[in-house]
Amino acid sequence: MSRRLAAGAALAVLLTGCTSSGDGPQIPAESAFLEGTCRTAAPDVIAIGRTISRLGDDNVVDQDVKDELRIAQDGVFELVATAEEPFRAALDELVVSTGVVRIRADGNSYEPDLGGLLRRSYERVLSVCTAPK
């Protein structure tokens, strides 16, 4: 884990309003996101974060989870082109990871390792988007 990612993860835990469900990732409040692109992306980023713990361990993923991933991915994707670095790279990675999960989930061939991939991308976004100004 990179120092930046480790710092981001640690910071996320300390942020006011963070929640998590079991072993799921931290879910910060929208207000914890930096103003600008990150704050705009926050609802969709959070939505993706909430789906991670609902992906399960089976090849088959619930349809509502798949729908939420698709909608949230669309939202983040629209922001990538105009985002500045380092937000752009992190958001782009999240879009691609979400796509990889979706393509396998839609074909009922999802594997839990892909959830780990998505979680790492999600946590990278948190590390850059919820850092203090």
Binding site: G99, G107, E111
Partner: protein, 511 residues
């Protein structure tokens, strides 16, 4: 990065892909149930001419005899087993070919050609009905116990010749017996018996030929054509070809008969593709005044004349189905491998990755930051050059295919006779790679170098391999591992002995 470190890195990467793909395929088997089922009706002209429509071509080292190579080609897609009264005869006016290039010029050095004759007694049967006329609508007059059974009213024979690029044609089989369509249990109670009877030795010592019906061995979900599996890849897992038959030609020969100079050690790689040709002119008789003059004639037959022209072509599966766009598909069917450079652009920038990016926002691999990715050298090597160390280093094929797989596998530049071969779209088989004791359906990307794209075996899961490679597996896009259509095996088992392809469904089988 030096060449050696690059090679080492690529070898590690390939091993990783193989491990990932193997794990993914294993996981897929634990997933949802799959149905127990390349180039079917792929082009606007050929879909109306099914008897000469190539569906698949296979080339592999015979699993029960590594000194021999088996070549299989299929025609007549979606043959419904009960599709009487005429069922699925071979076209007596066409030439059915399996072509071999062993010197790398992308021109056939040997053409194996099958032509057919009808023996049709249906017009001679006297039922005492029809006010004195003769004839029956039935395929047989009772149970058919052998290929020469008098009950079989419609049968076909074939001639097989080997036509060398230089020299005179050589007859391999004269008046061989075709195994008939598997009409149903009342007519054909024991098809496997007829089938083994139809296995005929060739004049080439050690060779065997089989011509007849078979289960369609290709297994895939054709809903890929419904806006890419239902618009979101959700419509997968159904073997669309399950339950259908094809007409098949199988030829097993000693590998020395196929390789250049008969020397498999010096020239181990062959290029293989199948074609069908028709005579150039067809005339429809317009006299419907009286029945045919012979009991074996039909009335108002067509008459074909002129030199043969190629109307169907098939080497690598799915190329003309899913790589070549609809407006060029018949053009591709009429084309020859020596001119395949004209299709380079289509191979380098296929449509499926574009559609996947559109649907899932997974970047098209040609946007990856490497020269090999931008030129899709992975696809070029898979379809047009094959793999070798010289291909990897960019020393042959003008650099096409460089930097992808560092292994002396199946490029014709491995042949002593062809150090600088031409790029061409056909199957490439290294006849010296022994058959695998346990086959991996993903072939080379699954770590099994005896499988596709080193030739093509019946078990190879072409759709999954093609999807994964199209999405950049050979370029390091490990996320592509595991992609597929969720159809992982054929609906009918393959045989352990020649002709290997599965028995055809019977007309008695109903869903």
């Amino acid at each position: 990065m030096t060449t050696s470190t690059r090679r080492a890195a690529r070898r590690r990467a390939l091993a990783l892909f193989a491990a990932t793909a193997t794990a993914a395929s294993g996981a897929a088997l634990l997933g949802p149930s799959t149905s127990s089922a390349s180039s079917h009706r792929e082009a606007p002209y050929i879909l109306n001419d099914p008897a000469v429509d190539n569906t698949d071509t296979f080339a592999f080292v015979s699993p029960n005899d590594p000194d021999k190579v088996s070549l299989i080609a299929n025609w007549f897609p979606f043959s419904e087993p009960a599709g009487g009264p005429n069922f699925f005869p071979w076209d007596t006016t066409a030439a059915y070919d399996i072509n071999i290039d062993n010197d790398g010029d992308a021109i056939a050095d040997i053409v194996y050609r099958w032509t057919f004759k009808d023996v049709d007694k249906r017009g001679t049967v006297d039922r005492g009905v029809g006010n004195g006329g003769k004839g029956t609508f039935l395929y047989a007059d009772g149970a058919v116990e052998s290929l020469t059974d008098e009950n079989l009213l419609f049968r076909q024979t074939y001639d097989l010749v080997a036509i060398p690029e230089q020299g005179r044609p050589v007859s391999l089989v004269k008046n061989g017996l075709v195994a008939p369509s598997n009409v149903g249990m009342a007519t054909i109670p024991d098809y496997p018996k007829l089938r083994q009877e139809a296995v005929t030795p060739t004049s080439t010592e050690g060779g065997s030929s089989y011509v007849g019906q078979a289960d369609d061995p290709f297994y895939l979900d054709l809903r890929i054509f419904d806006l890419l599996y239902g618009g979101d890849l959700s419509a997968r897992g159904n073997d669309t070809l399950s339950g259908y038959n094809v007409n098949t030609i199988a030829l097993e020969l000693p590998k020395e008969a196929l390789v250049a100079a008969g020397d498999a050690a010096a020239n181990p790689v062959i290029g293989v593709w199948s074609t069908t040709s028709r005579e150039k002119v067809r005339m429809f008789a317009d006299t419907n005044s009286k029945p045919g003059t012979s009991p074996t004639d039909s009335t108002d037959q067509t008459k074909d004349n002129g030199k043969f022209v190629q109307v169907s072509r098939l080497g690598n599966p799915l190329v003309n189905e899913a790589v070549v766009p609809a407006n060029l598909k018949d053009f591709f069917n009429r084309s020859t491998p020596d001119r395949d450079a004209q299709f380079l652009g289509k191979v380098q920038d296929p449509e499926v990755p574009f559609l996947v990016e559109l649907l899932y926002k997974i970047p098209n691999p040609n946007k990856l930051d490497s020269a090999a990715a931008k030129k899709r050298n992975d696809l070029v090597a898979t379809f047009l050059t094959g793999f070798s160390e010289d291909v990897f280093d960019g020393k042959t094929f003008g650099g096409l295919g460089a930097g992808v797989v560092d292994a002396n596998l199946n490029s014709l530049d491995l042949n002593a006779v062809s150090p600088n071969p031409a790029p061409a779209e056909y199957l490439r088989l290294n006849v010296n790679v022994p058959p695998s004791a346990v086959e991996n359906r993903l072939g080379v990307v699954g770590g099994d170098f005896a499988g596709y794209p080193n030739g093509r075996r019946l078990n190879d899961d072409i759709t999954d391999v093609t999807l994964q490679v199209a999405e950049g597996l050979l370029l390091g896009q490990t996320a592509a591992a595991g992609l597929g259509d969720n159809v992982n095996e054929n609906d009918v088992p393959f045989l352990d002995v020649f002709p290997f392809i599965g028995d055809p469904h019977s007309g008695s089988d109903v869903p």
